[in-house]
């Protein structure tokens, strides 16, 4: 077994187990912590795939900012534990069956069909400058300048929306 495969399998196992633990943990704080572990393994995958800039952004934005926001809201609301209210007994088995169906369909569409049509090229060796901040920045500020500017509007609207929604109404 090569080092690459060993690294991939170990990380994949951590990612899948932490995602499963997030799904089935009863305490929302634990779920958030498991999700942080998952995001960190995905950041390591980005490093393996030649995207060091995205790996750092993943750690700072996802594992840092977004999950801190989640933890803040969980603690603010004091909603760590939710008593289980089962109203539909058939919902969970149906959800698992539909999830399996989705996975089988995605695997068929992504892997078998694309392999028949040779849509999945093998990884080739990449230049050392691939995926570094400079290359991404050049692409971002030339070819993708308009979407980049639009994300600034999106973030502004999100800030205003969050403030308006949580503003306490005084009458």
């Amino acid at each position: 077994m090569s080092t690459d495969l060993f690294l991939f399998l170990t990380l994949a196992m951590i990612a899948v187990v932490s995602a499963g633990a997030m799904l089935f943990s009863t305490n929302a704080i634990y779920a958030a912590l498991y999700l942080i572990v998952n995001f960190c393994t995905i950041a390591v995958f980005y490093l393996l795939l030649g995207a060091p800039f995205l790996a750092m952004v993943q750690i700072t934005v996802y594992a840092g900012a977004i999950m801190v926001l989640f933890l803040f809201v969980i603690m603010l609301l004091g909603a760590e534990r939710l008593r289980r209210s089962r109203t539909l007994w058939w919902q969970q088995p149906l959800a698992i069956a539909l999830g399996l169906l989705l996975f089988v369909e995605a695997a068929y569409a992504l892997l078998f069909r694309s392999e028949q049509n040779n849509l999945l090229p093998p990884f080739s060796s990449i230049s050392p400058s691939y995926g570094n901040p400079r290359a991404i920045g050049e692409l971002l500020f030339n070819q993708y300048l308009l979407p980049f500017e639009m994300t600034s509007f999106l973030l502004l609207i999100a800030i205003i929306g969050a403030i308006v929604l949580t503003k306490s109404e005084k009458r």
Partner: protein, 100 residues
């Protein structure tokens, strides 16, 4: 290097687990976390394909997805806080009336 299909399979597994989380959990915050998991699975597929095709556009798109996810989380959590104020619960089964 290992084949790109491995990364795509892992991405499909993580996406399915996120979809399962949305379907089986009733806690609104955990449903949000599952949505984040699905976004991350899609991002992983983007980065794997970007490497396989030696194109940086996939990575730039991941950058945009992260921005949109950040905006979505800010607004979504504000909505959850606002709902908790009126209903004192974030169980999605309780949110069955439009009139607060």
């Amino acid at each position: 290097m290992i084949p790109v299909a491995y990364y795509i399979t892992l991405s499909a597994v993580l996406f399915t687990m996120g979809a399962l989380g949305v379907l089986i959990r009733r806690n609104a915050i955990i449903i949000f976390m599952s949505v984040e998991l699905m976004l991350n699975a899609a991002n992983l597929a983007f980065v794997a394909f970007a490497h396989a095709y030696e194109s940086l556009s996939g990575q730039v798109l991941v950058f945009f997805v992260m921005t949109v996810a950040a905006a979505e989380v800010a607004v979504g959590l504000a909505l959850i806080v606002a709902i908790f104020r009126t209903k004192h619960s974030i169980d999605v089964d309780q949110m069955n009336r439009l009139q607060g």
